[in-house]
């Protein structure tokens, strides 16, 4: 009995040691990894002071699982880190309730890795194409540029993720619109005669999408040689069009002159038309008279009549000019018409002619 009691006491004494053995915790040793960055990567000096150990973890397997999945894409992390018993690092590694800087970094890394996977999955679910996923992976790869500044890295990830999502959504919208347009076009093509398509079919031309023109329908090239429905180059039509342009030009000039001289439009129009009026009143009757004289040569009776008429022709013209002139013109008006050149001079000369003749017939 005494022997049994002693055995039990011995076992009870050993329990604390068993407990220690059972509670053997493991930590991730990142010392080699940190050293490599500290020595080899410019701008990654933060790694020089980074925590060597991350953890603790309740057992080796848990530690190893966390180590492998922390940075799955980082070959160096996988190769240069390992799980070791925490007591080799510190007799009292910090517990999870009070994480060290290194452990905090590690947890952040884990969070970001999880976020990356979520983002990637979300992009796939949204139907983003390979190019979008590749773009995202390239953003993920920039991790090394941020060292321990995981906050910035996370911000960059979030921002780029949002950009990619927007771009995917836009592409989907555009694609939908384009598809709708396509459907509309297809239904129109089915239900409605399309002019150009018909021309293509009628002429039996082969359509060459590479735009080699000889294979195109030459319908307008052929028509070019034919007479139009209305030919604007035909002298009669051309004269009509030219006259309309001329009338428009004259009225524009009268407007312009009226504005410059500040004369009322109606007065100015009459003033400018006096030149042609004189031609009509004097020159044309005189020429007509001369024509009559020629035809009357050798005919004495007619000659007498013409001799009497000659006086009337001159006096009629004289009277007509004077009365029109009184009604329409004042000398000061004409003086105020500006001296102009080129095309406008035609209209100015009409005024001058009028003035000269008026002077003669005062």
């Amino acid at each position: 009995m005494q022997k049994r009691v002693l055995s039990l006491l011995f076992v009870l004494c050993l329990i604390p040691y068993f407990k220690v053995l059972a509670q053997q915790q493991y930590c991730i040793d990142a010392s080699e990894y940190n050293n490599w960055f500290c020595l080899n990567v410019k701008g990654a000096q933060s790694f020089c002071n980074a925590n060597r150990f991350h953890g603790p973890f309740p057992d080796y397997n848990t530690c190893e699982w966390n180590r492998v999945s922390a940075l799955p894409g980082d070959v160096r992390w996988q190769r240069m880190t390992k799980c070791i018993p925490c007591r080799l690092y510190s007799p009292k590694p910090d517990g999870p309730s009070a994480p060290s800087t290194g452990e905090h970094l590690f947890l952040e890394e884990q969070k970001i890795s999880k976020k990356i996977e979520e983002y990637r999955l979300d992009l796939k679910n949204r139907g983003c194409g390979d190019s979008a996923l590749k773009f995202f992976d390239n953003v993920v790869k920039t991790r090394r540029d941020y060292g321990t500044n995981l906050k910035d890295y996370a911000l960059v990830l979030d921002a780029n993720y949002q950009i990619i999502v927007d771009s995917c959504e836009n592409k989907k919208i555009f694609h939908r619109i384009i598809e709708e347009e396509k459907r509309k076009r297809e239904s129109l093509a089915k239900n409605k005669a399309i002019l150009l398509s018909k021309i293509k079919r009628v002429t039996g031309q082969m359509l060459n999408v590479n735009s080699t023109y000889p294979s195109l329908n030459p319908i307008l090239i052929n028509l070019k040689r034919e007479a139009p429905l209305v030919d604007g180059k035909d002298p009669l039509i051309l004269k009509k069009i030219v006259n309309w342009h001329k009338e428009e030009l004259e009225s524009s000039l009268i407007d312009w002159l009226s504005e410059k001289t500040q004369l009322p439009l109606d007065k100015l129009e009459k003033a400018l038309s006096v030149g042609s009026l004189i031609r009509e009143a004097v020159i044309e009757p005189v020429f007509q008279y001369l024509e009559d004289v020629k035809s009357a040569l050798g005919n004495e009776a007619k000659w007498e009549a013409l001799a009497l008429r000659s006086l009337d022709v001159v006096s009629d013209a004289d009277r007509k000019i004077k009365s029109e002139a009184r009604e329409t013109l004042a000398r000061e008006f004409l003086d105020r018409i500006p001296k102009v050149g080129g095309l406008l001079s035609k209209f100015y000369s009409a005024g001058e002619t009028t003035l000269e003749i008026l002077e003669d017939h005062k």
């Binding site: 555009f174 619109i177 384009i178 347009e181 396509k182 509309k184 076009r185 129109l188 093509a189 409605k192 005669a193 399309i194 002019l195 150009l196 018909k198 021309i199 293509k200 079919r201 009628v202 002429t203 031309q205 359509l207 060459n208 999408v209 735009s211 023109y213 195109l216 329908n217 030459p218 319908i219 307008l220 090239i221 028509l223 070019k224 034919e226 007479a227 139009p228 429905l229 209305v230 030919d231 604007g232 180059k233 039509i237 051309l238 009509k240 069009i241 030219v242 309309w244 342009h245 009338e247 428009e248 009225s251 524009s252 407007d255």
Partner: protein
């Protein structure tokens, strides 16, 4: 080259039509509408207050659903309402939306567009043109008018493409040495803008007449037998009806398009698109 395009997208990025009273006209633009008329103003694309430069080679079209399209830099087709930009695989001279197709003139050819997944839209040439310069116009009953010009030779030709008895038929309508810049069809009359004149060509009588003489050079014309004639000069937009004539808008280089009873006005230098509804009322008040 892409910067003006980005600017344009930014400025035209408004989706919902707004009432004119909610969105002011850009500086230098004035609109006078007859009192008590049914004419309504809608902003399809509210314009920028700032004047946009480098807006050369800007063409304007309206599709069958009444949505505006801008041809930009001869390379892009942009629908500001849907914010869609199509890039074309080649430069184009002019475009029009007719019978459900985007028709274009490009490099001496008339053709249409084919959607190309993840690539520029492909131009499919169909009809060879005798000249480089060309413009397209929609006539009545989906007739297509093609104005071809050779400015160096001073030659202007108008062709008409139409469907007749299920077949496509092309006709040479008019040739002239006087510059023609725009045209429209109303009934059997083809109205053409030449300088300050609007010439009318009666296709039945095969005769030409002077319809209107304007004090400024005319740039654009739109017409319909039910509504009347709208024109645009460099600074104004006006209306010529059976009973009334009025200039109702002052704007810089406006571009106009008439569709049914609505007049679409592109304020080119401010990249705004207005739609005036019930425009036939211009002839009543």
């Amino acid at each position: 080259m892409i910067l003006p395009l980005v600017m344009m997208i930014f400025l035209l990025g408004q989706v919902f039509p707004l009432l004119a009273k909610d969105y002011p006209l850009p500086p230098g633009t004035l609109l006078r509408l007859p009192k008590n008329s049914k004419i309504k103003i809608n902003w399809l694309v509210p314009s920028s207050n700032k004047e946009i430069s480098q807006m050369e080679n800007l063409s304007f079209g309206v599709d069958e659903s009444g949505e505006p399209w801008l041809g930009f830099k001869r390379k892009y087709l942009f629908n500001p309402l849907r914010r869609v930009i199509f890039t074309l695989d080649r430069e184009f001279e002019d475009f029009i939306f007719l019978a459900g197709e985007f028709l274009l003139i490009s490099r001496k050819a008339l053709g249409y567009l084919v959607y190309n997944r993840d690539a520029p839209l492909r131009f499919v040439p169909l009809i060879e043109l005798p000249t480089e310069e060309g413009k397209l116009f929609k006539g009545e009953k989906d007739r297509l008018y093609v104005l071809l010009s050779e400015r160096s030779k001073g030659e202007y030709e108008v062709y008409r493409l139409m469907e007749k008895g299920g077949q496509g038929v092309a006709e040479k309508i008019f040739t002239t040495k006087e510059p023609i810049v725009d045209l429209c069809e109303s009934g059997n009359i083809l109205y053409m803008v030449s300088g300050k004149l609007i010439l009318g060509l009666d296709t039945d009588k095969r005769d030409i007449f002077l319809h209107h003489k304007h004090r400024d050079i005319l740039r654009e014309i739109e017409c319909s037998p039910d509504v009347g004639i709208f024109y645009a000069t460099e600074r104004r937009v006006g209306f010529i009806g059976k009973n009334k004539r009025v200039e109702f808008m002052e704007a810089k280089e406006p571009k106009i398009l008439l569709k049914n009873d609505s007049l679409f006005i592109l304020l080119k230098n401010h990249l705004g698109v207005l739609r005036l509804d019930h425009v036939r009322d211009f002839d009543k008040y």
